[in-house]
């Protein structure tokens, strides 16, 4: 560091130095970073247990310096339930993609939310199956092309993209639901704040907390990272609006 300057932002220590396998510009990495920043700020590394899913973030445990369990495809909410119930004083999160949380694991997701399981969902919604090479997801937009809907998603065949944040916010025992993104510095800062709030609410025992990230997939969308930000703004946000869908009635001071 140069003389007369002070350090104001650096990579969190709990984000291991292993190079992340995510494609350039992928928000998975951004969210990993924020998650670890929050864990450091709240000093809960020794209390946190994460669950990673099947999907692009299947190797999340290679990058995060915390205890983690790998779940079967779609079962992260059930696995997180098992952990949290046995160790109720720990901080538990499940980190899932759209195929995992909103297709194969819909039942596990909804029922964990209905029971108000006191853990945090980090839901990366990029509208595509990134890991398997860009197939249609339950959240693929109408008309969006993927390898399994090469002429664009036909809603007559496949239904409408599932709005999970809106659905989850209907459950009484869910404490907090927010949809965020990382396309601009302002939105990225909001995303981190949302993750922090979710974990804090969990620490207060308020119930299920659910952060949906309107995410990108430059490789799957077959565009540059910059173009993926534009797609988010023009196509994704109008259908998946950002914002808070539910928060605790009485905020503790």
């Amino acid at each position: 560091m140069k003389d007369g300057y002070k350090l104001i932002y650096k990579r969190p220590k709990t984000l291991l130095s292993t190079r992340m396998h995510y494609c350039p510009g992928c928000f998975h990495s951004t969210i990993h970073k924020f998650l670890m920043e929050v864990i450091e700020e709240l000093e809960i590394q020794d209390k946190t247990i994460g669950v990673c899913p099947v999907g692009c973030s299947v190797f999340a445990y290679d990058y995060l310096d915390i205890d983690m369990q790998e779940a079967a495809h779609g079962r992260a909410a059930a696995v997180a339930t098992g952990i949290k119930r046995i160790l109720p004083d720990r901080i538990v999160f499940s980190y899932q993609g759209d195929g995992d949380l909103a297709a194969i694991g819909t039942a596990e997701t909804l029922h964990a939310c209905n029971r108000g399981e006191n853990f945090t969902f980090i839901f990366i919604n990029n509208g595509i199956y990134g890991m398997t090479g860009g197939q249609m997801a339950p959240t693929t937009l109408e008309g969006q092309k993927t390898t399994t809907c090469p002429y664009g998603r036909e809603t007559a065949d496949s239904g409408m993209p599932m709005k999970m944040a809106e659905i989850i916010s209907q459950f009484e025992k869910v404490a907090y639901v927010e949809r965020v993104s990382c396309d601009t510095p302002a939105n990225a800062r909001k995303a981190k704040r949302a993750i922090k709030k979710a974990i804090e609410f969990q620490m207060q025992g308020l119930g299920t907390t659910f952060i949906e990230v309107a995410s990108n997939c430059p490789s799957g969308w077959k565009c540059t990272p910059e173009e993926s930000l534009k797609w988010l703004e023009e196509q994704v946000f109008p259908y998946f609006p950002l914002g808070v869908f539910k928060e605790p009635a009485k905020r503790r001071q």
Binding site: Q69, A71, G82, R90
Partner: protein, 352 residues
Amino acid sequence: MGEITFMKGNEALAEAAIRSGLQGYFGYPITPQSEVIEYLAQQKPKHNYVLIQAESELAAVNMLYGAAGAGGRVMTTTSSPGFSLMQEGISYIACTELPCVLVNVVRGGPGLGTIQPSQGDYFQATRGGGHGDYYTPVLGPNSVQEMVDHVYLAFELADKYLTPVVILSDGAIGQMMEKVILPEPIQYKPNKPWATTGKTVDRERKILTSLFIQSEVMEKRNLKLQEKYKKIKENEVRFEEYQIDDAEIIVVAYGLCSRISKKVVEFGREAGIKMGLFRPITLWPFPLKQLEEIASKDRVKFFISIEMNAGQMVEDVKLAVLGKKPVYFYGRLGGIVPTPEETFNAIKEKLN
């Protein structure tokens, strides 16, 4: 000295789980084993375990995975269709090497089948059942007493070998009431340094996974599992013999069929036919060596496997006997329990 009482198989199993230091139960109601979750729900206020009625067997087995990984002494129970749903989770648990107990109170299949007792899930239970190369120890209780004793044993084996352990019961053993001696409760003090409990400064992070994307690493994990299975085969084979010493006809049966077959042996002895009963208690590892030794005796004329299925364990008996003696089968299907009389007649036919 334990407590002598009179109990239903499913309830006795639930009570034994509590006394074994149960910390978490995750299950979904299905006949003929729903009494387990009902009993645990009823007793819960007196104890300190987690109980979740899950949304499906699929969710239940994955809760079991998470809870076992967090260091809990945990169990699930189900019946055949539910056991099929659990296979995904069992494969993951076996590969990740987590200790837990799964009970299948078997009913007649395939499909939705019946709710009556069956042994139709023998193949599924003794061959791993899910995808990939793995086995789980499988215990076959034949009484309400063993529904109790096998729970203690199953938890012990699970912790010792870091493996899911299956108790393969059936609808009759689960539903019948018998005298039972309940052992004293255990003060369970787990030592599970591998559990994900939060990374403290004094240790590395713990990762519980069954994903090893490099084939060399995956092969290494497989070889580790195979080494474990070898040890289990060497040390954990359990069986029971009845009037085998001079027997010329060896009846092989497990679970409920072993009780019917005991009566059949008595019929035989009364009729002057030298019959004996060989009862595998561990269905995996199967007592191959013990049966082979019996097959080597000159006096032995043939083996006959008595089962409530279309002939599943008989294949293991054949593998044990290695063609040294004929191996026959008699069984009933679809939830029918064979009577001692019809079974005896079936054996007599083979004599002619």
